[in-house]
């Protein structure tokens, strides 16, 4: 991907890392600044004084050593059913610029950050999975950043695919709005890696997802990934139900099923736009008035702004019905919704986080079972207990 990086800030502790030298070499025209704690906070203060710190921050790449844990639970949300995803923390901030992006109100540092201590990441990951024992783990790199937008700098994603291909108790989800998957086609995922694409209505993609790949290219990438052995996933999140939404989203759903093999889709997630109250202010200060933020949002049980439950149920029901027309057994899940909404819109009994975890884990377990006896499956999997199925 070709994003306009103008400045690179290198933290003292990251200066000697081989990855730092490799990344700096890719931006011969960028201004490179060595930063210690003191001048990094001065630079950050100067940046925050700009009219739009985020726009400027998206052109600044900060290379740091990550000192915390690399595997952490998804923050999820209280009062609603969450999927128990684990985040593999590879960096934060995204060079693309979606107007609705929750990260605008989530991070207090507007620059792009990449972690250069990859060896620590792998050792932390190995330790985590070892500790998890037989409990199946779904990990994802695309929570605090896009999984692939900066991957041509780090080359991390193919290494992770190779790693997960040999791990019996975990799957990796690579989530992106790009089509930059070519390096991933050079490695064999052995059925353990899901190539996920964030999808939306064409109108939203065109107007609100700045610098992201067009839907057609994302779908083209999904097909290529499938052919290489990756499972697919599609995330409709946020769904923005403005006037004419059903036709727009149906068109995207139809395109998916026209393009990829539906039997190789691990899951499709749905999530109607919800946000912390501060996001509207931050986003509109940057982009001007954004119509959908002014819809009938109420304060949900988790304190986030949510559309009325009846409207969300209608959106989910109609989207699910459209998906099931193409794939009756599609594993559709709702992101951060209540058991009531699950029941009303999908007809599924999803009372607690563990139910949803099992529902999604079973998608991967199914894949593992179907691969069992083949060459692509790690024999260690044979010893794994069956997950808790609840009539899924």
């Amino acid at each position: 991907m070709n994003f306009p990086i103008r400045e690179i800030w290198i933290d003292t502790e990251a200066a000697d890392a081989p990855l730092t030298r490799k990344i700096v070499g890719k931006f011969p025209r960028a201004k490179v600044l060595q930063t210690d704690e003191k001048n990094a906070s001065r630079l950050m203060r100067e940046l925050e004084l700009a009219a739009d710190p985020f726009s400027r921050g998206k052109k600044i790449l900060r290379l740091v050593r990550h000192k915390g844990v690399f595997v952490k639970p998804c923050p999820g949300t209280p009062e609603y059913v969450c999927c128990g995803l684990k985040i593999l923390h590879v960096g934060q901030g995204c060079p693309m610029d979606c107007r609705y992006c929750a990260l605008q109100a989530y991070f207090n540092r507007p620059v792009l950050e990449l972690f250069v201590n990859m060896d620590d990441l792998f050792s932390d990951l190995t330790h985590y999975l070892k500790q998890s024992g037989d409990t199946f783990q779904r990990l994802c790199t695309g929570e605090f950043t896009d999984s692939l937008a900066l991957d041509d700098l780090t080359g991390l994603a193919p290494r992770l695919v190779e790693f997960f291909a040999t791990v019996p108790n975990a799957s990796l989800e690579i989530k992106t709005k790009t089509d930059a998957i070519d390096p991933l086609l050079e490695v064999d995922p052995k059925g353990r890696v899901i190539m996920a694409f964030s999808m939306n209505a064409h109108g939203i993609t065109r107007h609100d997802e700045l610098r992201a790949a067009p839907l057609k290219k994302r779908l083209g990438a999904a097909l290529r990934a499938q052919k290489r052995g990756y499972l697919s996933a599609f995330h409709f999140d946020p769904i923005i139900p403005l006037q004419g939404w059903y036709e727009e989203y149906s068109s995207t759903i139809d395109s998916i099923f026209r393009t990829v093999d539906s039997s190789r889709i691990a899951w499709i997630s749905l999530g109607v736009l919800r946000f912390v109250a501060g996001l509207k202010e931050v986003a509109e200060a940057r982009f001007g008035k954004i119509r959908y933020f002014h819809d009938g949002f109420l304060r949900g049980l988790d304190g986030k702004c949510r559309l009325h439950v009846d409207r969300r149920i209608e959106v989910y029901s109609r989207m699910a019905e459209r998906i099931r027309r193409h794939a009756p057994d599609a594993r559709i899940y709702l992101c951060m919704e209540s058991p009531h909404v699950w029941q009303k819109s999908l007809g599924l009994d999803m009372q607690r986080d563990g139910d949803l975890e099992a529902y999604l884990d079973s998608a991967m377990q199914k894949e593992v079972r179907s691969n069992r006896g083949g060459t692509s499956c790690n024999p260690a999997l044979a010893g794994l207990p069956e997950p808790h199925f609840k009539n899924f």
């Binding site: 004084l49 931050v282 200060a285 002014h294 009938g296 009325h308 439950v309 209540s338």
Partner: protein, 314 residues
Amino acid sequence: MNWLDHTQTAIVNPNAVDLDDLTYLIPHFSDISALRQSIGRVGLVNAPVVQTSARGGMIPVMGRRRMQCLRELGKSEVPVKVLPEDMPIADGFTLAFWDNAAHRNFDPAARAYIVKRLLELNSRETVASDFLYVLGVAPKGPRLDLLKRIGSMEFSVLKALADARINEKTAALLCDLDSRDRIRVLELMESLRLNTNKIYEVISWLVDLSIVNEKSIDELLAREEVACLLAGDSPLPERADRFRNLVRSWKFPELTLREQEFHAWARNIAQPGISVRPAPMFENPECVVEVRVHSLNQAESVIDALKRKEKSKT
């Protein structure tokens, strides 16, 4: 440069000082009568500072309100200090700023106006390093831009903010409206005597509706139901409440419908001492049933009855 070391003293007629000139204005929205009384009683303690303007007259730099009081008190000769004509505006505004900062707390409206003016006259870096800490404003670009927009509104709106008739969140909404809509909507809210929080609610709903429906607020307020409601002869608080509920029903149609259904249902099963509350925003079908009793014994018998009922089911 220390411009106060370069002043000359003079005696001027307060009417010769152009108090409509806003070059160095640090607004003060409170009543001037206490200051006037004080000057009338003990005299002028500190001489105002003025500058000779390029047009030949004099404009106030520090002591604008003192000068106004002296005018109102009918004084014809007032001692002043005169700053040179070539003093840059930014320097003069800095003098006015520190003069005010030394003896008063800035209200939100004055703060917004000052930030606006400082940003017009100085770089962001200078504003951040030299002034913001005194104003208690975080040195964040988007926050400065918001205050700048608020500070650019009409003085009547700023006065409402200074008087806490509206809060800063409402001011932020108003500064995105055109001047006519802004004044109209504020006048309407004030005529209905809604409190500060309700004014914010109603204006935010109107702004949202205006954006989602691509209609001006004027068009929304021109609906016949609004005119009927506002023209009614019911007491003002009742009309204000009905107006607020009307706008709320436009903004949250599904919620309003569910509330109506729920209240109709609850009325049917109503018992004295028993109330039923739905889940917040009807997020799920759960309800809270509250039974009010007068003693622990009564509470116990209610619980026993419920237990018996539960048991008979199983």
